[in-house]
């Protein structure tokens, strides 16, 4: 009889688009600590939720907000109630050094032709951006300059390729892409938008996968929290 070494099962993680860069670091750190491999699938939270509710075989879901994991929990797709693992930080960002001291005024000038934001109807960072623009009283005035990314990743593409003059995105972009392209940015003060609480759920599919539970615990551990913090996320 052949004795097979018992490899731990891989863990499939559905991760919100804003986690694009940080998930790689988490994946490596988790692998180093536990030997368990993660297969991350990154996409907009809305799309991932639609896939999960239609039977996609994911074990853990890291959302960009709380309402999507809540929906999954209520729909019976999650094993536990959602928990907050980080909160997002919104920045205004550009591939050109245009100076952000007085950015709300700058957005109104002819110098800025296109502004990228994530689709507010489906992306939490887009919703936060609208709140900021509304608070500053310029939402309607900049509407004609606004282009909508289907997720925060597309906004990042628009910023880094320079097809837009500025964009509103996650702070984790500058940590990752900042090493490859010059990016200029300013952190938007958190008082201007409702906190972007990002929630996680262990999915029904992951209940019988011990690796899934370990990854779930890992994300809430100090090690993961310090990685999130280094990418600009706020940690309770």
């Amino acid at each position: 009889m052949v004795h097979l070494p018992s490899f731990a099962q891989n863990v499939r993680v559905a991760a919100a688009a804003n986690l694009q860069s940080v998930i790689d670091v988490l994946q490596k750190d988790f692998k180093k600590k536990t030997g368990i491999s993660i297969e991350p699938v990154v996409g907009s939270s809305g799309k991932l939720v639609a896939q999960i509710s239609n039977g996609a075989p994911f074990d853990v879901f890291l959302s960009a907000d709380m309402s999507f994991p809540e929906t999954l929990y209520k729909g019976g797709f999650a094993a536990k109630q959602p928990v907050v693992y980080a909160s997002g930080s919104l920045i205004i960002c550009s591939s050109q050094n245009i100076g952000f001291e007085n950015w709300e005024r700058l957005l109104l000038t002819a110098r800025i032709k296109k502004i990228a934001i994530a689709n507010p109807a489906i992306a939490p960072y887009g919703k936060a951006t609208e709140e900021v623009l509304k608070y500053k009283g310029i939402l309607d005035e900049v509407k004609f300059k606004t282009v909508y990314g289907e997720s925060i990743s597309q906004v990042n593409t628009y910023i880094t390729t320079g097809v837009v003059d500025v964009g509103f995105t996650t702070q984790s972009l500058v940590k990752d892409a900042g090493s490859k392209t010059d990016l200029y940015y300013k952190v938007i003060a958190p008082k201007y938008y409702k906190p972007i609480l990002q929630g996680m759920v262990l999915l029904k599919h992951g209940v019988n996968n011990p690796g899934a539970e370990r990854f779930y615990q890992y994300i809430l551990s100090p090690a993961a929290k310090s990685i999130f913090a280094s990418y600009g996320y706020r940690i309770q």
Binding site: K47, A50, K114, A116, T146, V147, Y148, T157, T161
Partner: protein, 223 residues
């Protein structure tokens, strides 16, 4: 329901098809005559959108249209034109994307016409252009219609390229296929279904119309 994505899609398909007809038919005529290595290369390039993933086309157009460098910068600096995230940009992308559907059928039809047809016309003293317009084109009507309908329908079905260079702006670049995608993401399946049903009906009627017309044409003495 917001019908603007449907109107925008029809407008995009209409403008694209009209431009393709004006540019594509003479181009197909040029391609149909004689063989040279140069023509093969040109035809290969025109046919590429048929097999290339739309994301490849979208990615290159995004780079080409970027006001930061190259073509996009030149257009921006010289004419203050920005193609990315604009309706004209979508038209240009659609013209490239649907080009094979206009050129293909017209070119093959012209090649299959008996050579005597054009020769007789030249013998009677007609110019090349007159021959093309009044002798050749009327003889390939079914193929012209097929080319027009396919170009139109293919533009209606455009998604990947628009997703990459459109920016989802209501009334400007949010075409019906994007509206469906958007509605699905929002889990608003009722709207997704409405848009999808409209697209389905339009394309179905168009394809049926081509089949019926071509069947009728086949019975004509020239067929």
């Amino acid at each position: 329901m917001d019908l603007s994505p449907i109107w925008l899609t029809l407008k995009l398909a209409g403008v694209t098809t009209a431009l393709l007809f004006i540019v594509g038919v003479p181009f197909a005529w040029w391609l149909s005559g004689g063989r040279s290595f140069f023509k093969i290369i040109v035809e290969a390039i025109i046919t590429m959108p048929l097999v290339l993933p739309p994301s490849v086309l979208g990615f290159y157009l995004l780079l080409a249209f970027s006001p930061q460098h190259g073509l996009g910068k030149w257009l921006h600096d010289s004419f203050d034109v920005q193609l990315v995230f604009s309706f004209p940009g979508l038209v240009l992308a659609s013209v490239i994307y649907s080009m094979p559907f206009m050129i293909g059928p017209v070119k093959s039809a012209l090649q299959q016409l008996p050579a005597v047809l054009a020769e007789a016309s030249y013998t009677l003293g007609k110019s090349r252009w007159q021959t093309f317009k009044s002798v050749l084109l009327p003889n390939i009507k079914p193929s012209l219609l097929t080319a027009i309908v396919l170009s139109f329908a293919h533009t209606l079905g455009e998604f990947g390229v628009v997703l990459m260079i459109g920016g989802n702006i209501p009334g400007v670049t949010r075409v019906a296929s994007i509206a469906v995608y958007d509605a699905v993401e929002k889990m608003d399946y009722a709207s997704a279904n409405n848009y999808s049903l409209i697209l389905f009906s339009i394309t179905f009627v168009m394809v049926i119309a081509v089949f019926v017309f071509n069947k009728y044409q086949a019975k004509s003495p020239l067929g």
